[in-house]
C-alpha cells in the first residue's frame, strides 16, 4: 500500500475543493474504493472522507419526485416505505444488489460510481493492457474470459459491463443526478466507452454527487426490477430489467412504458425501442415477447457472453407481463 493522506471534509464545498486536487478521491462507504485500492486500480493520493457530512443522507418523497441524498445508505433507501410504494423498481433493485452487509455500508452516490467487474480491469499486476485503466494500452478481455461482459454499447476499445442495479431503475424513470447546482440526466451521466472507456461518468474533478432525483410517475409507481443470475443472492446480474407501466383507463392499453436493462450493456441501458413498439398497444403476451427482442437490437457477443442476448429479451418480457398482471 502506498501512503496517502486522509482528509475529513468540513463541508460539501470543502469536499469539492479537496476533490479537485490531483490524485484526490471522495470516500463514501468505501465498498468499491477500498477494493480498488487494494488491487491497485485506484491509487489515491488524498482520500476525502465525506461520510460524516450533514444533510446528504435524506430521503424525501413527494407526489412530484423522490430526492435521495448522495450519502443515503443503499439499505435505508431500499427499505423506505415511500420508495417502496412509489418507486418499487428502485427499492427492488437495491434489495437485490450486493449483500446486506454491503448495503449497510454503501451509499447511493458511491453506488452510481461503482466500476466494472471486468476481471482484467481489476488485475493491473497481471494484465497491464486495459484501455479503461490506461487509455491506449489495449483490451485484455477481448479474446479472454468474457462471460460477464457486455453485449450492448461495446466498442473496439472496451466491452466492460456496467454492473450496478440501481442505475438501471434510475435510467428507466428519467432520474437526474444532482452535482450541487448542476443537474445531469442519468442517461447522460453514464457514458458509452467509444474510444475513451476511461471516461465513464459526466462528472469532473471537483464535482460531487449531492443527490439523485427521480420524477414521480404512474409508471414508476407500477414498476418492478427483475434480476436473473445463477446464485439467488450476492451476485451481479446475468441480465436484469427495470420496467414500469401505465395503462389507459381501459386498463389494457399501454399509455406509458419504461424499460431499461442491466447486466448486458456498458452502461445502464434504456430500451426505448421496446417502449415505442408497445406504447399505445394493448398488452398482449405475443406482442410483448416480439417487442422485447428489440431490447438487444445491435447486440454483439464475445463468445461466452452470447447467452445474454438470448436471456435479456426474456427478462424484459417477463417483467412487462408481470406488471401487466398486477392491474
Amino acid at each position: 500500500m502506498r501512503d496517502f493522506s486522509y482528509l475529513r471534509a468540513a463541508s460539501v464545498d470543502a469536499a469539492r475543493q479537496a476533490a479537485a486536487l490531483p490524485g484526490a478521491m471522495l470516500l463514501a462507504g468505501g465498498t468499491t474504493l477500498i477494493d480498488l485500492a487494494k488491487c491497485g486500480v485506484a491509487e489515491p493520493e488524498t482520500l476525502v472522507d465525506i461520510t460524516h457530512l450533514k444533510g446528504l443522507n435524506g430521503i424525501e418523497v413527494s407526489e412530484r419526485s423522490a430526492i435521495i441524498g448522495a450519502l443515503a445508505k443503499m439499505g435505508h433507501v431500499a427499505d423506505h416505505a415511500d420508495i417502496k410504494s412509489r418507486f418499487p423498481a428502485v427499492s427492488e433493485a437495491l434489495w437485490q444488489a450486493a449483500s446486506a452487509q454491503i448495503r449497510n455500508m454503501a451509499t447511493i452516490g458511491g453506488n452510481l460510481m461503482q466500476r466494472t467487474r471486468c476481471p482484467y480491469f481489476r488485475d493491473p499486476a497481471n494484465f497491464p493492457a486495459c484501455n479503461k485503466r490506461e487509455p491506449g494500452s489495449g483490451c485484455s478481455a477481448i479474446g479472454g474470459v468474457t462471460k460477464g461482459h457486455a453485449v450492448l454499447g461495446t466498442s473496439d476499445a472496451c466491452i466492460a459491463m456496467y454492473p450496478g442495479d440501481l442505475a438501471v431503475a434510475l435510467v428507466a424513470f428519467d432520474a437526474v443526478v444532482h452535482l450541487g447546482q448542476s443537474q445531469v440526466p442519468v442517461d447522460d451521466f453514464f457514458l458509452l466507452p467509444g474510444t475513451t472507456p476511461d471516461r465513464e461518468h459526466a462528472i469532473e474533478p471537483g464535482e460531487m454527487i449531492t443527490a439523485i432525483e427521480i420524477p414521480g410517475s404512474a409508471s414508476a409507481r407500477r414498476s418492478t426490477y427483475l434480476k436473473i443470475r445463477d446464485r439467488q443472492s450476492y451476485e451481479f446480474a446475468a441480465a436484469s430489467a427495470a420496467v414500469g407501466i401505465e395503462f389507459e383507463a381501459d386498463g389494457r392499453t399501454i399509455r406509458d412504458l419504461r424499460v431499461a436493462l442491466g447486466g448486458v450493456a456498458t452502461k445502464p441501458w434504456r430500451a426505448r425501442a421496446v417502449e415505442d413498439a408497445l406504447k399505445g398497444k394493448v398488452l398482449e403476451p405475443d406482442a410483448v415477447r416480439a417487442a422485447s427482442l428489440l431490447a438487444v437490437e445491435g447486440a454483439t457477443d464475445h463468445g461466452a457472453n452470447h447467452y445474454k442476448i438470448e436471456l435479456a429479451p426474456r427478462v424484459v418480457a417477463r417483467a412487462i407481463l408481470k406488471m401487466g398482471e398486477t392491474a
Binding site: Y120, A125, N126, G144, I228, R231, Q232, R314
Partner: protein, 752 residues
C-alpha cells in the same frame, strides 16, 4: 494446548452417564462466536515482522529480473528473500520419497511452473510496507505459452491415482457385457477445477530460537507437518512445536504443509526475527492445492430386467508439470453397483497449474456426480424409476472385490429418505411437474458413499487422585467438532462425566493423532483415546483388585466396570469405590497409560468398509431463464456409530450444501492465453449463499458395525457431497428434460 474454555466450561446438554451419542453443543462454540478463539494469524510475538509473497504473473517460464533494490528502498522493508539469498535447506524441495511428500516451491531457482507461484518474499515492519515492497519488485519474465485445459497437453496413463491406487482396473469383460446388453448408454461429463477456499487463509507465525522452532499455523496433520519441516531444515522433529488449536476450514488444503508456510519459516530464519505470513485470497489459487478438472465417460449395459451387465468408467484428469496427484474419479464405480463386468481407467495431462490435491471427497465427489448421472440415464433408458433401478443393482458384496461389507444399511437409507421426501409420487418422464408459479419442478436422487478409513494415532490418558482425568492427543479441529466429539469419547473411555475430563489437542507436543482427513479422524484418534482410556482404567483396576482393602479385591480386571468416576464389580454393582479412593490408597497422585488407534489388518483383508447414504433433491427451474433453485434436499446416511448427532448432522448438511455448490456454483475459470484464473476471489468464485439453501434434512440411519473398529465409527466428513451433486443434476434433468453433462450447471446450459 488446552482449550481455553473460560466461560463455557460446562457444555450445554452435558449429562451423567455415557457421553457418546449425546448431542452436545460445541465446547469451543462460545469462544468462536465471541471472537475469543485464537487462530494462527491472531498471534503476534514480540518483534514480529510481516512477510508478503510476491507471486508469478505468468504460468510458465522464468523470472528474468526482480527490482529488489526498489523494494528494499521502500520505508519499512527489512529484507527481500529471493533464490539468491534464501537460507539453505537440508533437502531439495523437489525431492520426493513417498506419495505424501509433495514438491514445494521454495525459491529453489528462477523457474516458474504455474501462475501465483512464489517468486520472492518481502519482509517488513508492517503489512502495508511488505505489500508495497512486493509490488515494487516489478518482475520481468521470460514466458512460455501456458498449457491449459484437459486437451492442453499429451495424455498419458499415470502410475497411480489418488493415494497410489492403480490407474486401470477391471473385473470381468466389459466389452462382452456391453455386447450382451439389451440397453446401453454412453455419456461424457465434465467437472471443473475447484479451489478449497477455506475461510481462513493459510497463515503462519514463526519464531526461531537457535535450532528450535515455534510455529502457529493451521494444520490438518500436525505430526506430518512437523516431520516435513524437520526434514527440510535438518532439525529434530521434537525441536519443532506447532500449535493449531483451530482451523478456519481445511478441506484437504491444510493436510500437508504448503510452500508458502515453509517460506514463512525461511523468512524468519533469514531475518532472525519472528515472522507472520498470511496468504491473500487470490494467492490461494495455486500453491495450496485444488480439485483437478475431470472429463469422464461412462458406458453401461443393462439386460432386459434392468440389471447392469457392464460399467465402463474412464476419467481424464490433470496434474501439474512437476508433481503427481491424480484425481481418482473413475474409482467411484468400484463400490456402489453390482455388475459382472466393471472397468475403470484414468489418463491425465500435465498443465501449468499448481499441483492438485485432496479436496473434500477427492475422486469420490467428481466420480459420484458422473456415475450418479449415468445411473439416472441408464434407469431412464430402461424405463425404470431411478430408485427401483438402484435397488435392482444393489451390491450385496463389494462389486470390484467380491468382499462382504462390514455393514451396509443403504437399503434403509433409500427407504427412509425416499419416504421423507415423498419420492413415490414422482412421474417417470421429465418435464411433467410444474408448481403454482409455473416453475418446472424436478426430483432426482443419488447414492452417497465414502470409504471408512483409518490411519494411525496415539493418545495419552491420565487419572488423577482428585478424581479427574486428562486425555491428550494432537488432534485437529477444522470446525468439524473434534474438541467436542473427542472429549465425549475420552469421557466414556475414562469412565468419567465429561466435566471431569480435561481434553488437550491441537498441538504437536501431544501424542500423534494422525491426519484429520479421509473422514478417518474420529475413528482413528477416537480409537486411540478409547484404548488409552481402557489402558489407564486397567491399571487402576489392577491397583484395586490386587489390594485387600478394596471392595473390588479379587474381582479381576475383567470383572470390573468403570462409570462416573467409580469402579464397580460386574457381578455386584453395589460394591465399588471411586478412582480417587483407589489412587489415594495406593499413594499415587496420578497414573497414566497410552493407547493406539489403527486399522485392524485382519478385518481389512476380509471386509469392504464403507459408509452409505441416499440423497433426494427437488429443484425448480424457471422455464424462460434456466435459473435453477434447489428447493429441497433430503439425505439419509448410515455411517456406523454416531458420537454426537448434532455434529454429525452438521457434517452432512455441510457436505450436502457442498453438493449444491458442486452441481450449480463452483468453478475456477481460466484465461486460456495466460493460464490465470480470472475469478480468484470470493465475489466471483461462487459457493451457495444462505438463500440458495432453503431446506436441507439429514436423517441418521442406525448402523452397528462390529468390524470397522471397537467403537463402530465410520466417517461422516465427506460423504455428504457424494450423491447430492448427482441428485441435483438428475433433478434438473427431471425438471427440464435437458441432461446436464457439464458442471456446474448454468443458466446458459438450460436457455435452449
Amino acid at each position: 494446548m488446552t482449550l481455553e474454555l473460560s466461560l463455557n466450561q460446562q457444555p450445554a446438554h452435558a449429562r451423567q452417564g455415557s457421553s457418546i451419542g449425546q448431542p452436545l453443543t460445541r465446547r469451543d462454540g462460545f469462544l468462536k462466536v465471541t471472537g475469543g478463539a485464537r487462530y494462527a494469524a491472531d498471534n503476534h510475538p514480540p518483534g514480529m515482522l510481516y512477510a508478503v509473497l510476491a507471486v508469478s504473473s505468468i504460468a510458465r517460464g522464468r523470472v528474468a529480473a526482480l527490482d529488489t533494490e526498489a523494494a528494499k528502498a521502500h520505508k519499512g522493508v527489512v529484507e527481500v528473500m529471493t533464490p539468491k539469498n534464501r537460507p539453505a535447506l537440508a533437502i531439495d524441495p523437489d525431492a520426493k520419497d513417498n506419495p505424501f511428500m509433495f514438491r514445494l516451491d521454495l525459491l529453489q531457482n528462477d523457474q516458474v511452473r504455474y501462475p501465483n507461484q512464489s517468486i520472492a518474499v518481502v519482509i517488513a515492519e508492517t503489512l502495508e510496507a511488505a505489500t508495497e515492497g512486493a509490488a515494487l519488485l516489478s518482475p520481468r519474465y521470460e514466458a512460455l505459452p501456458a498449457r491449459v485445459g484437459l486437451d492442453g497437453a499429451k495424455s498419458f496413463v499415470p502410475r497411480g491415482v489418488g493415494i497410489g491406487g492403480p490407474a486401470v482396473q477391471h473385473k470381468g469383460d466389459v466389452e462382452t457385457g456391453l455386447r450382451s446388453a439389451k440397453t446401453r448408454i454412453e455419456a461424457t461429463y465434465e467437472t471443473p477445477a475447484q479451489y478449497h477456499n477455506a475461510m481462513e487463509p493459510h497463515a503462519i507465525v514463526v519464531a526461531w530460537d537457535g535450532d528450535r522452532l515455534s510455529i502457529d499455523t493451521p494444520s490438518q496433520g500436525l505430526a506430518m507437518a512437523q516431520g516435513r519441516i524437520a526434514g527440510l531444515f535438518g532439525i529434530a522433529p521434537e525441536n519443532i512445536h506447532i500449535r493449531s488449536p483451530f482451523l478456519g476450514g481445511g478441506f484437504g488444503s491444510k493436510g500437508m504443509i504448503s510452500g508458502p508456510q515453509v517460506l514463512g519459516i525461511l523468512a524468519a530464519r533469514l531475518v532472525g526475527r519472528p515472522v507472520k505470513l498470511v496468504l491473500r485470497r487470490e494467492q490461494m489459487y495455486g500453491p495450496v492445492g485444488h480439485r483437478a478438472p475431470t472429463r469422464q465417460t461412462l458406458r453401461m449395459g443393462m439386460d432386459g430386467e434392468g440389471r447392469l451387465t457392464a460399467i465402463d468408467h474412464h476419467a481424464r484428469t490433470a496434474s501439474s508439470t512437476f508433481d503427481d496427484f491424480f484425481e481418482p474419479a473413475a474409482d467411484a464405480s468400484h463400490t456402489l453397483y453390482a455388475s459382472p463386468a466393471i472397468a475403470t481407467s484414468h489418463d491425465a495431462v500435465r498443465l501449468d497449474t499448481g499441483t492438485p490435491l485432496f479436496m473434500r471427497a477427492p475422486g469420490e465427489a467428481t466420480g459420484s456426480i458422473a456415475l450418479e448421472s449415468a445411473i439416472d440415464e441408464a434407469a431412464h433408458a430402461c424405463g425404470m424409476d431411478p430408485l427401483e433401478f438402484r435397488l435392482r443393482n444393489y451390491a450385496e458384496v463389494e462389486p470390484m472385490t467380491g468382499k462382504p461389507f462390514s455393514s451396509k444399511a443403504l437399503r434403509e437409507c433409500y427407504r427412509q429418505a425416499a419416504e421423507t421426501f415423498g419420492w413415490a409420487s414422482r412421474p417417470l418422464q421429465p418435464r411433467l411437474m410444474r408448481d403454482a408459479d409455473g416453475f418446472l419442478t424436478g426430483w432426482g436422487m443419488g447414492t452417497a458413499t465414502f470409504p471408512a478409513l483409518m490411519f494411525q494415532a496415539e493418545a495419552r490418558a491420565v487419572l488423577r487422585s482428585d478424581g479427574s482425568g486428562l486425555m491428550e492427543t494432537g488432534a485437529q479441529d477444522m470446525g468439524q467438532g473434534a474438541w467436542t466429539a473427542f472429549a465425549q469419547i475420552a469421557a466414556d473411555g475414562l469412565g468419567l462425566d465429561i466435566d471431569r475430563v480435561e481434553f488437550r489437542a491441537g498441538s504437536s507436543d501431544l501424542p500423534n493423532a494422525g491426519i484429520a482427513g479421509g473422514s478417518g479422524h474420529t475413528a482413528t484418534a477416537g480409537m486411540a483415546i478409547h484404548n488409552a482410556g481402557a489402558a489407564v482404567i486397567a491399571r487402576l483396576a489392577d491397583l484395586a483388585t490386587g489390594n485387600e482393602a478394596s471392595p473390588l479385591f479379587g474381582a479381576g480386571n475383567e470383572g470390573v466396570l468403570a462409570r462416573g468416576g467409580r469402579l464397580y464389580r460386574r457381578d455386584d454393582e453395589s460394591r465399588g469405590e471411586s478412582y480417587a479412593e483407589i489412587l489415594m490408597r495406593a499413594g499415587l497422585t496420578e497414573i497414566e497409560a497410552h493407547g493406539k488407534g489403527a486399522p485392524d489388518p485382519a478385518s481389512q483383508e476380509t471386509y469392504a468398509k464403507h459408509a452409505h447414504g441416499a440423497v433426494f433433491a427437488e429443484v425448480k427451474v424457471d422455464p424462460d431463464f434456466g435459473q435453477i433453485r434447489v428447493t429441497r434436499l433430503v439425505g439419509a446416511f448410515a455411517a456406523g456409530r454416531v458420537i454426537n448427532p448434532r455434529l454429525v448432522r452438521s457434517q452432512y448438511y455441510g457436505g450436502m450444501i457442498w453438493g449444491i455448490s458442486f452441481a450449480l456454483h463452483e468453478e475456477a475459470i481460466t484465461d486460456r492465453r495466460s493460464g490465470r484464473i480470472q475469478n480468484a476471489n470470493l465475489a466471483e468464485y461462487h459457493v451457495p449463499v444462505n438463500a440458495d439453501v432453503p431446506s436441507v434434512e439429514a436423517l441418521l440411519v442406525h448402523e452397528d458395525d462390529p468390524y470397522v473398529n471397537a467403537l463402530g465409527i465410520k466417517g461422516v466428513g465427506e460423504i455428504g457431497i457424494t450423491g447430492t451433486a448427482g441428485a441435483i443434476a438428475n433433478a434438473v434433468w427431471h425438471a427440464t428434460g435437458v441432461r446436464p453433462r457439464r458442471f456446474p450447471i448454468r443458466i446458459e446450459d438450460l436457455l435452449g
